[in-house]
Amino acid sequence: MNPRRLYRRFASEVLVLPGRTTVLAVCLVLLILPLFHRHPYTLRVLSLTFIFAIFAASWDLLSGFVGQLSLGHAIFFGVAAYTSALLNLQAGLPPLVTIPAGALVAVLMGLVVGIPCLRLKGQYLSLATMGFPIILTGLVYLFSDLTGGELGVSGLARLGPTRLSEYYIALVLVLGLGLIMWKITDSKVGLVFHAIREDEITARASGINTPLYKLLAFCLSGFFAGISGGLYSHFMRVAGPSTLSVLTSFQPVIWTIFGGVASIYGAIAGTFVLYPLMEFLRVAPELRTLIFAALVVLVLRFMPEGLTPWFIDRVESECPRCKEHNAVTRRTCRVCGAPLGRPSAPGAGPFQPGKGGRVAG
């Protein structure tokens, strides 16, 4: 394609919307950050942030988009972490093989969790999903000769030869997989996911095979959570029972709700803010958890839909005629030319299924 046309398309798709421009700017900053600052501790915190952002986005894919509220998401993370670790230690396979293998086992686990949960809804589904990591933890302890029991397995191959390479591997994966997940939710499959969440009976009445799509959501979510689990085990060089803990299951829920549910980028943004924040709060170790919790509650008090919808409501407005998004500074819609008037009140804009939330334009 002609470079000038390519740029024009890029400008009309990305640069016209402040939300997308911000995402682009953050990506560029992260890509060039090590040129100016490559302290191992900073790179460690950011690498873990990227890995957990994939995990949070995978939870959003299942629970935010399809409405299958999983409170046991650690099952996918943990099973992939253990699979990658054991394949690396026992079979000597490199992370390039073990991480995808772990993700595939997490896909199978998606079926194992998804099939018995097909008929469950709401809190019953949440409770059922919560049980699976507990069962797997029991198995980890039962087969402690293989899994290392409470100690876990350690001494795994590094994710990359240097901290810098690990940083870039994690960064490229969070950007790539984030984009893939966002495109899935922006596709026809994503539209079906929305339909199931909003009204499953109507979706079935419309001829949609909802059990199949729900299973697909479990498997897709399991795959991405599995990638993050494998990355985690090779980054930490340890896979232990903590990967299956209740805390591991709850963390993506907090990050996603903070960032904004049902958008993928909201889950990623939430993790990008909260995980480094928790590290920063080491300056007051005894008050760390308290300050963290207070900040989350306060932010959600004033941004009830999460951080990213709040931000987008302030920098973009929705065209009343064609529903496309525009920069808040525009007086007419960039697509249909309709007058835009005053920007809508924060949090008042309608949710746009199938368009990746409010940022879609």
Binding site: Y41, G148, L151, M236, V238, M278, R282
Partner: protein, 429 residues
């Protein structure tokens, strides 16, 4: 003010500033420091004991003139690292990496949870930083030193003796009680029941108890596995009474140790209780059991007994400051001294020079003589660290073992006492 006066004033100020900057603001130059990270879950008792033990050692060393490395004097500066390891493994590893790369610590001491300790071990070894464990007991960490010496040589364990030896030592306590039964009650083959909490660490212990107890000339009547957090053990204790047990071999690492001891005393189960009950190591044990935990006998690390000349001063000072008895996590006290001696011998802070000196450690600590084995694990046995058997007698924690074992009796050790209701039940009329 005239221009001349202004110029004079500026000159005086400039001179004063120059003088202060050269002399360090009129004070003597501060001594250099050796930074040691004390890593542990600081919101929990384990981390608090890590910190207090290390603090006591650092204060003593600095007061005595600091550390001499070559011809330079250093003070010890502790860096508190809250690992939050009981809740999050990645948090623990990040905290330690921060201490190494941001705070530039020379060594790390502490850690308690095995999984987190393994992750911390990887971070420390990546950075070639000396790590001295005072908490995690599983032997796998030490095995790594043997398997890949060049990578893991910076790792050492000061306390506790590793889990394999903890089992051996607890079996010795059982044998001790068996001997008292034979001698005082004339029962040659006492019946033993095992009550082992249903936790991972308890599984091999349950299997070992069934296999080993008959080899000690005792009869094994069965094993009971309550939850580690059980609040009512009446059913297990009643079944043990019905099985005719005369001794109960215990393993409680968690809270169930309190209701167990309380109900054992309340029900006056006619069987002496011995083994590992971590709750019975705490100062508040008698209060927690409503004074029913008297005669409970457990493996321990510290007690008011003279294992070495350092034990009692350390024990008393720690108890005074903390209001609690020191747990094995307070072994950071000895770890700091061991590190100090090693760097003084090495005349260097370079880990490559310090590791060979740490390997030569032969240090008389508050817990016994510390010598590292080839895997850098603390050596257990006669002449080294033996651990202690402590019993609650009349509301006081006293050391009752070793009492003649391999010729060892630490001054201050008293005789083990059978519970009176056990004696009255089994004494031949």
């Amino acid at each position: 003010m005239t221009r001349k006066r202004w110029a004079a004033l500026i000159l005086v100020v400039t001179l004063l500033l120059t003088t202060f900057s050269v002399t360090g603001c009129g004070k003597a130059a501060a001594p250099k420091v050796i930074k040691i990270a004390v890593a542990g879950p600081m919101q929990f008792i384990q981390g608090q004991h890590h910190w207090l033990g290390a603090q006591m050692a650092a204060e003593e060393i600095n007061k005595a003139g600091g550390v001499t490395v070559g011809n330079k004097k250093y003070n010890i500066e502790l860096v508190q690292v809250d690992t939050n390891e009981l809740l999050s493994v990645d948090d623990a590893a990040s905290a330690v990496e921060k201490a190494i790369t941001v705070n530039k610590v020379n060594a790390i001491i502490g850690t308690i949870r095995s999984e987190a300790s393994m992750a911390i071990q990887e971070v420390a070894m990546d950075n070639k930083t000396i790590m001295m464990v005072c908490g995690a007991s599983l032997p796998q960490m030490a095995e790594k030193v043997g398997k890949d010496y060049n990578r893991y040589k910076y790792w050492f364990r000061v306390t506790p003796v590793n889990a394999t030896y903890l089992v051996k030592a607890s079996m010795l306590l059982l044998n001790h009680v068996g001997g008292v039964f034979r001698k005082e009650l004339g029962i040659q083959k006492p019946k033993v029941a095992a009550i082992i909490e249903k936790a991972v660490a308890g599984d091999p212990l349950a299997a070992a108890a069934a296999k080993l107890i008959p080899t000690f000339g005792m009869e094994f009547v069965g094993v009971w596995r309550p939850s580690p957090t059980a609040t009512d053990l009446t059913a297990e204790l009643t079944a043990i009474r019905k099985a005719g047990a005369q001794i109960i071999y215990t393993y409680f690492s968690a809270t169930a140790g309190v209701p167990y001891a309380k109900q054992w005393g309340e029900l006056q189960i006619p069987a002496a209780s011995v083994g590992i009950n971590v709750e019975a190591q705490a100062k508040g044990f008698m209060q927690a059991t409503g004074n029913k935990g008297n005669y409970e006998y457990t493996l321990n690390t510290y007690a008011p007994v003279q294992i070495t000349p350092k034990t009692l001063p350390f024990y008393e000072e720690f108890t005074k400051r903390a209001g609690q008895f020191p747990t094995y996590n307070a072994g950071t006290y000895d770890a700091i001294y061991i590190y100090k001696e090693a760097i003084e011998r090495a005349k260097s802070l370079d880990p490559e020079a310090v590791v060979p000196e740490l390997e030569k450690t032969n240090y008389l600590s508050a817990a016994g003589k510390i010598v590292f084995n080839k895997n850098h694990d603390v050596t257990w046995g006669p002449g080294y660290v033996t651990a202690l058997g402590t019993q609650w007698q009349d509301g006081k924690l006293v050391a009752v073992w070793p009492n003649g074992w391999e010729g060892i009796t630490y001054p201050g050790t008293v005789d083990y006492k059978l519970p009176p209701w056990v004696v009255s039940q089994w004494k031949k009329k």
